[in-house]
């Protein structure tokens, strides 16, 4: 239920609704889309990436001298949890073909396809299998399958969204594999939304010029992720799942080839060694680093672990100066602040409005532009609504959808969103939601090619942990596609490589070298990474933990 002081503004939203529905039905744009210059202007002035202290120069490692997101640079300039001398590297605890780091969408897809190419794998995952941002995607997956669309139009849309910084070979792989991924998932048992004649039900997303958003109600990620997990579990002889056992560092051999990793049992606090012919990093993103203090839409485990492991092993990072804020994170009620409100809401006709109930931006700009426009409306123009806890928000009018698409549409297509709000007595079929940008996605990551190879032999990366495919801004629906396309490719190419790979002796010397580099650069810090879990323990509690020992954020 919205507090009384918001009721005047809500009345204004209601008052303009009929006019806005007319506008939507006219087929014209409900608000003029921005030109290239307008986009640039609003980004420079209002996108959090452009704030003075949002980036700094990294002083060590393969990207030394480059300007990265401050929190990422901090994480990379940190100590390892282990020392090379702790382990007997002559007799590893496990041996396998592929060590897959991360049990989300990319990791599971890689394990399934790797197995089809004859390899056995271990999935090392920090929490449970499927505990990943993949599980949480709501709105959908892009793929160009309709007659009006083509993979090359999808290609151009993705490039424009990413400010033309995307790596061309990766975008081609993403968009050209798309249709096949739709079918592959369907054959694995994913239930896509369809029209009565069997054709795919598709919607727009921000930055798409064709309708190509495929969905499973608003549980798209949950349905895909659970299907992939279920399939992984059908092959216990070939795929071993180690839950609550994150990989925390990688092994190289004497020739610098990636050769496995060190795993940490979060519960017994033991370390284990895994020798593997190839490693696939599929650890996802970093929302739980709470960059610039933002709330996040991300999973509890999204702490960017793969980045720091790969970096210490010598892998290049790409576009780690760019952060994605999802325009529509929840702003009210406080209990769900930062939670994702799917872009599919706008794809289905939902409209962002200011406190006077007026449109101020085209609802389907690319995410960075849309977010910057929301921030401008609140902070510069003072046309936002402030919540009792002081958060800003603009309205996202959902009741228009019930009129445009027909009564009952929200309950059928947005059951998760409906549930999210009705718990707090907000009925989104009748009232709008209050939204503000929320930290959502790691646009960059470990640089890969279209075979998911990195500059470290034997090290493959797929999904959000990788960088290049989305340039400096990802479009909605391209991450679900990304983890499927590149998860599958990583599984295939790593398996082909593993078939003939012969490894030398395991080594952690690169960790020692990295520590020396930190020291040489004069970096004095108590930071430890991988971060593994965020800390939400109140300071008052920490003050009393007289004998507690923290390794980074982990007690």
């Amino acid at each position: 239920m919205y507090p009384e002081f918001m009721h005047d503004s809500l009345k204004k939203v209601e008052a303009t609704r009929a006019r806005r529905i007319e506008l939507e039905r006219s087929g014209k744009n409900v608000f003029p889309p921005m030109s290239a210059e307008e986009r640039e202007d609003v980004l420079k002035k209002f996108h959090p990436d452009y704030k003075a202290d949002s980036r700094r120069t990294i002083r060590v490692g393969p990207n030394k001298g480059e300007v990265l997101t401050t929190e990422v640079a901090d994480m990379l300039e940190s100590h390892t949890r282990i020392g090379a001398a702790m382990f007997d590297l002559s007799s590893p605890d496990y041996e396998t073909d592929l060590l897959i780091v991360g049990g989300g969408g990319a990791g599971c897809a890689a394990a399934i396809v790797g197995r089809e190419h004859g390899t056995k794998s271990i999935i090392s995952t920090k929490l449970r299998l499927g505990d990943a941002n993949s599980m949480m995607s709501q709105g959908g997956m892009q793929a160009a399958v309709t007659a009006k669309d083509s993979p090359t139009i999808h290609y151009l849309d993705a490039l424009g969204g990413g400010h033309f910084d995307n790596k061309a070979d990766l975008v081609r792989a993403l968009t050209e594999d798309g249709p096949e991924v739709v079918k592959w998932l369907e054959d694995l048992g994913v239930v896509w939304d369809k029209n009565p004649d069997g054709s795919m039900y598709v919607l727009h997303g921000g930055g798409t010029s064709r309708k190509r958003m495929h969905s499973c109600r608003d549980y798209t990620g949950a349905i895909i992720m659970r299907t992939l997990m279920d399939e992984v579990r059908n092959h216990p002889d070939d795929i071993q799942i180690l839950e609550f056992m994150p990989t925390i560092e990688l092994f190289l051999d004497e020739k610098g080839r990636c050769a496995g990793g060190v795993l940490y049992n979060l519960e017994t606090e033991e370390y284990f060694t895994v020798k593997a012919k190839a490693v696939i990093i599929a650890t996802g993103g970093y929302g739980r680093l709470h960059i610039r203090g933002f709330d996040t839409t991300n999973h509890y485990g999204a702490t960017g672990d793969g980045l720091v492991m790969a970096y210490r092993a010598g892998a290049n990072l790409l576009y780690m100066d760019s952060v994605q804020y999802h325009p529509t994170g929840a702003s009210f009620p406080e209990q769900i602040a930062g939670f994702l409100i799917t872009e599919k809401i706008r794809g289905a006709g939902g409209q962002p409005l200011n406190k006077s109930g007026e449109l101020f931006v085209w609802p389907r700009e690319p995410r960075d532009v849309e977010s910057a426009a929301f921030i401008r409306e609140c902070l510069e123009r003072q046309n936002g609504i402030q919540t009792p806890s002081g958060r800003w928000g603009v309205w996202l009018d959902s009741p228009v959808i019930e009129v445009i698409q027909g009564a009952g549409y929200i309950n059928k297509n947005f059951p998760a969103m409906y549930r999210q709000f009705i718990r707090y007595n907000i009925d989104i079929t009748k009232e709008p939601m209050l939204v503000y940008p929320s930290l959502h996605y790691q646009n960059g990551g470990v640089e890969i090619n279209d075979r998911c190879e990195t500059n470290v032999k034997g090290l493959y990366v797929a999904g959000e942990a990788s960088g290049g495919v989305h340039g400096r801004n990802r479009l909605m629906g391209n991450s679900v596609l990304d983890y499927n396309v590149f998860g599958r490719r990583a599984g295939r190419y790593a398996a082909e490589y593993a078939r003939t790979a012969v490894l030398g002796k395991l080594s952690l010397d690169h960790l020692t070298a990295y520590e020396e580099e930190l020291q040489k650069a004069g970096i004095v810090t108590d930071r430890i990474a991988p971060v593994l879990l965020p800390s939400y323990t109140p300071e008052e509690v920490k003050k009393r933990q007289f004998t507690a020992h923290y390794e980074g954020t982990l007690r």
């Binding site: 002081f5 290239a36 929490l127 505990d131 599980m135 949480m136 160009a144 309709t146 009006k148 669309d149 151009l156 424009g160 033309f164 061309a168 050209e176 249709p179 079918k183 054959d187 694995l188 994913v190 239930v191 896509w192 069997g198 795919m200 010029s209 064709r210 109600r217 549980y219 990620g221 949950a222 349905i223 659970r226 092959h235 609550f244 519960e267 709470h290 610039r292 933002f294 709330d295 999973h299 509890y300 485990g301 406080e334 209990q335 769900i336 602040a337 930062g338 994702l340 402030q386 919540t387 002081g390 958060r391 059951p415 998760a416 999210q420 718990r423 503000y436 939400y536 323990t537 509690v541």
Partner: protein
Amino acid sequence: MSATKANVKKDAKAKPAKKEPDKAMATVYIMGKAYRVPADATIMGAIEYAGYQIKRGAGCREGFCGACATVYRLPGDYKIYTGMACMTLVQDGMYLSQIPAIPAQRPVYDLSELKANVQTFQKLYPEIFRCVACNTCTKACPQELEVMDYIQAAKRGDVEKVMDLSFDCLSCGLCAIRCPAEIVHYNVGILGRRLFGRYLRKNSDHLDKRIAEVKDKKFDREYKEMMKMSKDELKKKYYARDNE
């Protein structure tokens, strides 16, 4: 819900008047032990406020992953309640315990060899025929799904209904631990959805056509042209494109 502040203005004008301390806080019993926590916290927020660092029992924190299944009782009430810790608000006097994992078996199967009929359910999950229709699973479901109805549908081989009714399932397992017939409902739901997706879906002919076009390299030339273009050429093409 996290302890972050980017979207919080420090000198917020709309800050509410200070609440009476006894109303702002509530007492909850976490695994039997009393803690004072903010009265408007979620169960997950309360557990963290009390000083726990959660390892098992937190996942997506937004109601999708099913990691934070919780059971609780309220003062003066004999009933057992269930909920997801991330989505359920505390109440004064609540006795709660999270369930770190649900013990459940799951048969291994080859989807390509299964048929979308009742025999498949019989073979893989014979225990569903022990269902006594008590409806406890439905009452335990934090998503308010008609769990018993989809188990009954599975018993009839109505795969589409199993798919439809179980679609929003989080696999939290609260149904399974409450079931007197010891059924693992959520696994039955996943099987039903996969059977439907694979065997009972309506085929999308345009999808098959597009896949064939890609295989025939239909877009190859266009890709190559665009991959050669400069940023400025691409920009021009992008801003000139038409919208569906």
